[in-house]
Symmetry: D2
Subunit: 359 residues, 4 copies
């Protein structure tokens, strides 16, 4: 007699195949689920394998568009970078994958979900927190170390072997997300989120952009080494940072920056579906209302160089910058501003004395 149904996040690989068999042996009905988030995979072969191993049903789900639009774009709006360096690729994929798994489990009446993420790492946490958040009654009967493939760069060329000619792109933004990418020389244009992201991965990969080798702090309190490549994400981060500073008020930016750092931690730690992450996403989205315009940049030998930017919402006012030239700026204002800012500093000196000269 069946113990009930399990939706298993199946990869087609050895580990999750073992889990599938083991779950069957334990008396569960297994629904295999493969998420396509853009990885290089023979989905048909995986489907056949799952069926052969005894899966009741197999769902292969194309999540690529929703991954880009609902997960990568908000992270981009936030300039989300964990510990100043990691662009959070995998971390962002987990809640997207687990969300669909929960949807399948609810629809199919499955009480269990299972996955192959390891017990010692972040992915188990990201996976399970998402499941608990979206399906509080769910249980996760079994997980197993899904031995990571050797962490070699798969999308990016070695910058030393990359072309000796840069590619120059224009990226157009509206509300803080890219809406069009144009290759200046070739004229190629991409206008849907998925196409834009894939194209930038291609260009970035060709020039070896976005490779890092870091030690990072895991949620469970240990440090571990990570080797990552995020070619498209790196190009977008540079472009977004630029257009954002161009169009966003300085003080809004400061507040938004600290929300972005918080957002990055939440994503990394698996809290995409939490009240605080939802709140932060809302606030960041609000901050992006005027982040609009076009950035021109060059991609070359692992680097992204901003060449220029323009925007109908620009707060950069050339006339204002050179206003003293025109005589309608009163230098007395700057002096007053400085003297008032100095009131506190002078008092501090008067009362407590700076000791800078004694050292």
């Amino acid at each position: 007699m069946s113990k009930g149904s399990v939706v298993l996040a199946y990869s087609g690989g050895l580990d999750t195949s073992c889990i599938l068999l083991w779950l069957k042996e334990q008396g569960y009905e297994v629904i295999a689920y493969l998420a396509n988030i853009g990885q290089d995979e023979d989905f048909d072969a995986a489907r056949k394998k799952a069926e052969k191993l005894g899966a009741e049903k197999v769902f292969i789900e194309d999540l690529r568009s929703e991954f880009v639009q609902e997960f990568i774009w908000p992270a981009l709006q936030a300039n989300a970078v964990y510990e100043d360096r990691y662009l959070l690729g995998t971390s962002i994929a987990r809640p997207c994958i687990a969300r669909r798994q929960v949807q399948i489990a609810r629809r199919e009446g499955a009480q269990y979900v299972s996955h192959g993420a390891t017990g010692k790492g972040n992915d188990q946490i990201r996976f399970e927190l998402t499941c608990y958040a979206l399906y509080p009654q769910v249980q996760a009967p079994w997980s197993m170390d899904n031995h990571a493939p050797p962490d070699l760069y798969q999308m990016t060329k070695n910058p030393e072997d990359s072309p000796n000619e840069p590619d120059v792109l224009e990226i157009h933004f509206a509300k803080g997300v890219p809406v069009k990418v144009r290759h200046v020389k070739e004229g190629t244009c991409k206008e849907t989120p998925l196409e834009i992201f894939c194209y930038l991965n291609e260009i970035g990969g060709k020039h070896g952009v976005g490779r890092i080798d870091i030690v990072e702090n895991r949620f469970i309190g240990m440090k571990s080494r990570g080797i990552y490549e995020t070619p498209g994400g790196t190009i977008l981060l540079h472009a977004h940072l630029d257009i954002e500073t161009f169009t966003m008020d300085r003080e809004v930016r400061k507040i938004k920056q600290s929300l972005g750092i918080k957002f990055s931690e939440l994503i990394y730690n698996g809290f995409w579906y939490s009240p605080e992450c939802e709140f932060v996403r809302h606030c960041i989205d609000k901050s992006q209302e005027s982040v609009e315009g076009c950035v021109q940049l060059s991609v070359f030998k692992g680097q992204v160089y901003i060449l220029g930017r323009e925007s109908p919402k620009s707060l950069y006012n050339e006339e204002l910058v050179s206003m003293d030239v025109q005589g309608d700026y009163d230098p007395c204002d700057a002096s007053g501003f400085i003297r008032i800012n100095a009131v506190r500093l002078r008092e501090h000196n008067r009362l407590q004395g700076y000791e800078y000269f004694k050292k």
Copy 2:
């Protein structure tokens, strides 16, 4: 009759020469002061020019070592970057230059200081705030727009023209500052702060590292465009970030990160000599006690690639990372950790309902 003495920050250029003459005409005695912070300058020629224009005294001060040790090193410890991109080169130089000017003014009994920084920009603020903080009674009788030289890159090669071979360096840190740099292949070693910094400027410059073209938010509330190059600083920032994450506790790092952002704003806005900046510097310095070890990196075509790191103070514990392999790690702990973290998320779902599926 003399109106008193002015210490003028003299550059040898047209603008400050005009100021010198004007001050003389107004009846001030002028003490010319040239700070050597590593710029390319004919100091002897400048001295002669100042004397010829009527300066009572001329002081040429070599501030290079103190600039590196007392100003650049603390900024490095903080990973100080303004608005996520600008490494604050000029901003850091101002308090260093103004401090010596104040020292000269106090020593020579001058009641006035003067400079050539413009009224519309940040440098006037940085200069004057430092003077008021360190010499509350001082006055600054005259400043004038010191037309900036065309913002072209002077230290860095165009990455497209840079060598096709990387240079591989080892940078050794103690208490968060570099104490030795070694060129792996050539064996070159640098061990004093000034030598280290100059050498990294040279290597970085050769490979076109650290060029940026940005729009930034000035203190006085307008945006302006800046083109900067910070070759040595960029290499050091990458290396420091790496060794810091390797040796510093995760939670200390988070707190320190926000202090570093604050520090960057303070530097940019001219508040190096303020009680809050002093406080923040103290705290950041404290955080660096264990930031020790060696980073190996490659410099190539405008990029810095971390190759590896090692440290006697490493918190990266390979045994711990792979502990489940050894059987002394209880997977129940991770599950408990996750379930407790999920308590709040499940309650949120139960009471208010996530609407993620409705959208």
Copy 3:
């Protein structure tokens, strides 16, 4: 010939009467404007005085409702308290008063606004920043020290002389703002914002609630002494803090708390009408969606005591709190949670050694 029109924030007192006369002498046409934000004032007498002194027009504007709803309520949602103690009464009134003044100036085609706030204090800044933000072309030709009335308590009784019986109230909230107040014993009910606020001022005043004598940090960098009374605001702050903690997720609360601190500084410094304050208000408002329910409290001898609270949106789950009693809570979870949290602490000890026992 007229130099143009000035809208003068007229108080009926000596200072602004002098300003009115002086402006006339200088050749301006003066439009007198009196804002009623609930102060004790003979507005008819003030109107006559202004007319007699030569005001072209006199506008007496009842801003009480919009002051409560559009200014006090958002501050309450934020738990806005400057420097941990000051409830920002006057600071919140300035942008409300200046906004209407700008509206009148725009409508009447006046190019100037004038006010009696002093040059050395915060009110001048609050007033003028609001005017510049809402009417960039405006000028403020003259301001003068409006000698503050002796800072005596006018709304609150001395707690020593207050009744020996508490008043017990129920305050109902929706979206973080009060929607009803009921006096439990007397049955009195207030349901409009203005009535609620006036009633709480009355009850709080009767019991001597909300008096403070502080030293505060002004925006211009000096400290000054302030004596304030905020009877109704203090009652509301206690009640709001309580219902908020009862209904808001812990982590959302933390983020919102830091936004509230920022908001308080912005209000104090006069930046109500700034992009960042607008952004922060939006975020705080978003955080209040579930802040709903009823708080019962007692007001007595200068204090507010929370007696209890209830809410349909409560995240306080009695069953969950006592869940181990019911056996469906696995103690292993708490142990795992603790052990995972300790991983980092143990590593720190292992590698660097705590020195707590050596001291």
Copy 4:
């Protein structure tokens, strides 16, 4: 044969007596440990009871002085308040108690520690995290719900029944901690940390100061109700806040405020002995260098009223505050300051338009 030694945090009550017996039955040698942190307890009776139940050794440790100096004083320097209301009494006691327990375990060669704190609450976490941090090899073999005594107020009178006369005190601070308390009328003086704290508890208790009834967010993610009384702590918090604002630079205070909020969370969650808490304590201690002076206050009917303050380190400069009276303050400075601050606001209006009038 013995399984080894356990140091049990013994209270003399039923729960820990049961644990003691159970541990004996399981084959452990039990060392009973009673911490005196100022609670009302018959320690001799408890010692006899423990011996009778079979404890090998009994240690009764007077931790009162170190509790006040090493734990309460740093929390006071931080103005540590959890979620804006809870003064963290119990939370601060746990690391103090557990530290001594670990010291005993190390000295006596015990491999285990045990306590009676419940599995569902915060105290288990605080206890165990401290043990793991200070004694990474330790194990905690058994804990049991130590049914809390009914949460009634034991130290404080009902304010309604408190005296009709205030007590007026002077509290003297040095480096942010109290060094002397004087009763103005009676002349009573207390000068050691323990005496000061006990005396303020007595005075505060007599006037019903520091009672709260709150809902709080526990570390494990659920809300729970807490009823607390902190009479001495509440008086000290008011006094410290006052002298701190009087003597500390505004901008240092802002940074220190956010560190204090962080510190409060760390204490509440049991991380007193963590690298980040150590770091934060260091920084806060640094901030207190000039927090020196005397605060006069009145305690009455549950409230603390600040009457005045004085300090040799005061940054409150009466001359400066009234400087325009003396003519050496240039009103042009304030106008310039305001106009520069308005640059950004006017630009925002110009480019994007405020919509405040449309609503």
